[in-house]
Symmetry: C2
Subunit: 423 residues, 2 copies
Amino acid sequence: MTTELSPDALPELLERARKDYAALAARGLSLDLTRGKPAPAQLDLAEDLLSLPDGRHTAADGTDVRNYGGLQGLPELREIFADALQVPVTQLVALGNSSLELMHDCLVHALLGRVPGAESRWVDQERIAFLCPVPGYDRHFALCERFGIEMIPVPMTPDGPDMDEVERLAAGDAAVKGIWCVPKYSNPDGACYSDETVARLAAMSAAAPDFRIFWDNAYAVHHLTDEPVETADLLAACAASGNPDRVFVFGSSSKVTFAGSGVAFFGASPDNVRWLLANNAKRSIGPDKVNQLRHALFLRDAAGLRAHMARQRELLRPKFDAVQRILAAELGGTGLAEWTDPKGGYFVTLRVPDGCAKEVVRRASEAGIVLTPAGATHPYGDDPRDATIRIAPTFPVQDDLEQAMLGLTTCVRLVGYEKLSAS
Amino acid sequence: MTTELSPDALPELLERARKDYAALAARGLSLDLTRGKPAPAQLDLAEDLLSLPDGRHTAADGTDVRNYGGLQGLPELREIFADALQVPVTQLVALGNSSLELMHDCLVHALLGRVPGAESRWVDQERIAFLCPVPGYDRHFALCERFGIEMIPVPMTPDGPDMDEVERLAAGDAAVKGIWCVPKYSNPDGACYSDETVARLAAMSAAAPDFRIFWDNAYAVHHLTDEPVETADLLAACAASGNPDRVFVFGSSSKVTFAGSGVAFFGASPDNVRWLLANNAKRSIGPDKVNQLRHALFLRDAAGLRAHMARQRELLRPKFDAVQRILAAELGGTGLAEWTDPKGGYFVTLRVPDGCAKEVVRRASEAGIVLTPAGATHPYGDDPRDATIRIAPTFPVQDDLEQAMLGLTTCVRLVGYEKLSAS
């Protein structure tokens, strides 16, 4: 962010920003860019689910999907997602409607049970810490906070987390039990982990024998361009590096079919899978297999999944294009902002001058545009530079999104020029 | 169990039992009386669910059920179950497909968080214990065992647990944090808690300020007779007794609609509900509301729920009748067995002479009839008298059930007469 601004121009720019903001506030908007929710039009693409499985209640292997049982989930659905999640079908588990639940439950089972390789339950250890690439996903951080797991921020780069830092921290501190990763189209940067990042994660030394990578592959098939990004296969790399149990892979169809009524997946080494299933066997008599059959019939196969996501992309591309267009038109060359241009996923990161993010979000809120709270992208809600804003363009209709983005850029100009004037 | 047997008759009875057992074993049966699973014919009654909500995706309050959100679950479904579970709609939560999961999660949240009234997390306390009425449900006991919660058995009576014991233990030991209760048609006795039992549970002194009754009302609407048993309202009684937070009510539609794809419920005081929802908010972005809408459309209202259960009863009554008929015909007057005659629920308890239950189960298994392991009805799998066998008549078709019951009675005669002969 270099400003090309001459000091003489500042009063006029500030004056214009103030006028624009007053006009914005006067419009009484009520717009929401907070959460990564699919829009109703995206959900409509899966409308057939609402009458499936249409009288059928038998899985390919003869299982009556209506009854109890089947802790690992339906094989035909696992087959559809195995390639996308880079997990062999036999090591993939299909469960309930939320991958966040699975991450929560894996933490619980590690805290109260003993994860393979652990010397004791995590809850019995004096200190437990997770590495948190920042900016990252607020709900990951909320899980750590809820369980008293210390969070150690690590800066993100366009290739994934700063691996020098990750290696140093994982090797040097046995209390570091894990790291949160969104490897493809990360939340919120849209960054994709490079092959080198994946290789280093698999091979690095970890002081904790029970170190785990929570690999939240939430956007595995959520491409926005003609060049789908393929990240390297961490599960295979871990096995090849002699660390087969290092990774828990998470995935979900929440942003494929219905956000609230999808199917979540867990993939890992055979030992980890046995561990999860043994824990789950105490907790449940099996997942909702009717919903799994419903999804298998709807998506059909891996090609069907890809075709469905291509239809999602047609709806999402214009929204992400609008975000880029408006940011460039309104903030390009001002020196007040930088932003990411993701090739997939659900978010755009907007970086404003240090100390401005909270104020931008506050001003936007006062003008009726609700944004994710500034700081939410960092552990404990604390962005030390107060510079990161997460934009979630998917849910609003196109016109609302464009109005909200224009309003947001007005707020950035207002707060940015106010700050420059004060300094 | 008083035997009317004259010693002279024993050799002949044993001889006949041995012959019958040899003939049974020679038949090469493969029958299963282990688990309380609905039969396919019961599941067929809810077949319409397989094409619901049939294109509809909007709840009564306008919510798009396909998307995220709605942590408390759909009001229209909660309304249908509120009366049956004796929980006001505003204090009832509709969640995923398993009430066992909810019980597990409540334990987890109490262990790792702080339940209302608690002085500290349970995991930070030196000793935690639960009262376990016996015989009881093995999956309750498995949860305690998994989390290192000490189990203290309390004898069941036809009116519920021995309340003198419950009161003594709850009042005298602050480590006693809870009790497992299946108040109506209990698993496996089919006992129903009397009004006095409910009143005493609500009013008794508990040394632990965070004492909780895990009220697993699994068979709330699962009547087998023309005289549906109505147990007293514990949630209201607790509030009236000044112990509003004492009870967690659990329920589920697993044995109403589809065992694996139903909806589970949690009901409690407003403070407890807020506590659960706050914990759930960290774990999930909401339950599967499409499935909740599906159930609301299928069941329609409380009367629809009752009518559906009347159809279930038509299928189950002949099975429970056969169990009674065969037990009476084959073991009546032998002095070898006593059994319960439940007015609802899913189980019959068969009591055999002390020291015989494991052997009966073993002999039955060798003859191709699989029963719930003897001891499963007691904490740690340890029935000190080795006398309790749980019979689950629902899943097999009528003929298989009758074959299995005949075989079981043969095993009881064999093992019982062998024991008498040896003594």
